[in-house]
């Protein structure tokens, strides 16, 4: 039976699943210094979220001649905090739980989109300031408008379905997607999305190619006038990864009016701190919580527990990021 270090928390249900199979689960955060000194090498597996970082040297420190970790579980989606290549070199299986938070991120994306176009954050803030700013808070509908999705994976498809139920005309660009989906207009280039859509939602990974993908030049081509002829302005939402939206470019576009609203759940640098974006009423944000729900948490835990049980029973997993 395996010893499993869980450094950033896990749902009680999931812990129970593992313990029922006879595994030992140790819930405790490990500091970078501890990990460098080999604190994880006494375990067979480690499950992290985003708070724990496992760059190359932390991974090699978690290996011993006669053992150490053989499995890294990322409870969640993004693995930018894990050096997967280094793990592969040592034969360590890396797994994440990409499906568990899909629905949460889909809902948050639509929530941020409507909160933007209807000034919900500013509305609440002005109420709290004792004002009744009804006259200054006229918004625009999303129905009848064109929504451009950058990336067309699992989450984007969920957003597309919800957006279509509101009467949006959905467009998408994804160089890795070859199938076509009924009712969605696929584009050959990301520039086409910007040139055609008043509303854009980002759903790609952060890579060298996608860093600062949402830049001044592209924002400047957004049409400002909806597919229905309404001067709704341009709106961008991202619950994907920080760094894809060039925040300085977005801020300039908010200032010039080329961008009517911007909603971000993710930032180039997190925690955000004192960003100039916060000076704009037409910006609102959240601290990387798009996947942070009771439901996603429960699903992430039980999905991860299933992967661990499978791994220690069979020596492999049905899905992994590197084997």
């Amino acid at each position: 039976m395996a010893r499993i270090a869980v450094t950033d928390g896990m749902s009680p249900d999931a812990v129970e699943m593992l313990e029922k199979e006879g595994h030992e689960v140790v819930l405790r955060h490990h500091d970078p210094d501890e990990i460098s000194s080999g604190s994880l090498a006494v375990f067979d597996a480690v499950v992290i979220r985003s708070a724990t970082k496992l760059p190359a040297e932390q991974i090699s420190a978690s290996i011993k001649d006669d053992g150490g970790i053989r499995f890294i579980g990322r409870a969640g989606v993004g693995v930018d905090n894990i050096d997967v290549d280094e793990a592969t070199k040592y034969g360590i299986v890396v797994c994440n739980t990409p499906g568990a938070s899909t629905r949460s991120v889909v809902e948050m994306t639509i929530g941020h989109l409507i909160a933007s176009t209807r000034n919900i954050a500013t509305a609440d803030r002005t109420l709290r300031d004792g004002l009744w700013a009804k006259k200054n808070l006229r918004g625009s509908e999303i129905g009848g408008k064109r929504l451009g999705l950058i990336g067309f994976g699992r989450i984007a498809r969920g957003v597309a379905q919800a957006a279509r139920s509101f009467g949006m005309d959905v467009h998408a660009y994804d160089p890795f997607v070859t199938d076509s989906i009924q009712g969605i207009t696929m584009h050959e280039s990301v520039d086409d999305i910007f040139a055609n859509c008043t509303h854009i939602s980002v759903h790609c990974n952060l890579t060298d190619e996608t860093r600062n993908l949402v830049n001044t030049e592209r924002i400047s081509t957004m049409p400002g006038v909806g597919a229905d002829g309404i001067h709704c302005g341009n709106h961008i939402v991202s619950c994907a990864r920080g760094g894809i939206v060039d925040e300085e470019a977005a801020q300039m576009a908010l200032e010039s009016g080329q961008l009517r609203t911007l909603a971000l759940d993710v930032f180039e640098s997190e925690p955000l701190g004192r960003s100039p974006l916060l000076n704009h009423d037409s910006f609102h944000g959240s601290p990387h919580i798009a996947a942070s729900t009771l439901e996603a948490q429960a699903r992430i835990g039980t999905e991860m527990a299933s992967l661990l049980i499978e791994f220690f029973e069979t020596g492999k997993t049905s899905t992994s990021l590197n084997f």
Copy 2:
């Protein structure tokens, strides 16, 4: 050709439609005192929004022996600011434009619902305060939960459709609705809605029966645990009319935790001022802007212009509230 007083604004498109037909449109606000002194009696019709009030004495002051207003247009939905019975007594036709803002209110209702369950207003406020409150802002999904609709007219049906696209199980109560809709569970009493639903959205008119309909007793019966077994707490949204949600009862329920969140676009007393609701992070609000979009505005104006043109051409309208 008619003289039309427009006291609370109208879209340029609509004014143009009327002027094209030869009508004279006078865009100017009239104070209550002016109206009492007969300032509207020199017109054939008046078009108001919510800012102008037309109680009995203002209506009788707008009538002369040889003329006065024959048509009151409410550009929007609610006619609680018009004494329709008094208008009927004088043979004045009263029309509103109920369909024009449906889509806007549907979107705002879903926006408020997700903003509540995902803490969007608090998320933005804490970011602006320089905090990164990620850990305190875990929310819950709406998918998999039961949504109870109080009232099942045009707007509620739009909300039902959108909610179902997110995977909500939709329940409704409306004593005036006899038809059943595929996929919606209709209930025989409003109490049933509270006893069965963790999420409730209000969509009825304000009447003697519906005043304080959302009260302590009913809130206390809400289940707190979602249809999917998740302890999501109870959530109430209203973009209908102030006074249907008993705000003191709701505030007590927020305090006790029986209500996890409350989102209101409408209040017992507007402007809201210094409400104790504003002390709660689990409350957020907006200043009666659910119908306030460019699109609704444009539709309201052109719908109202069409009604006026029809009235002055034929002496009646195809739809009115009293004839």
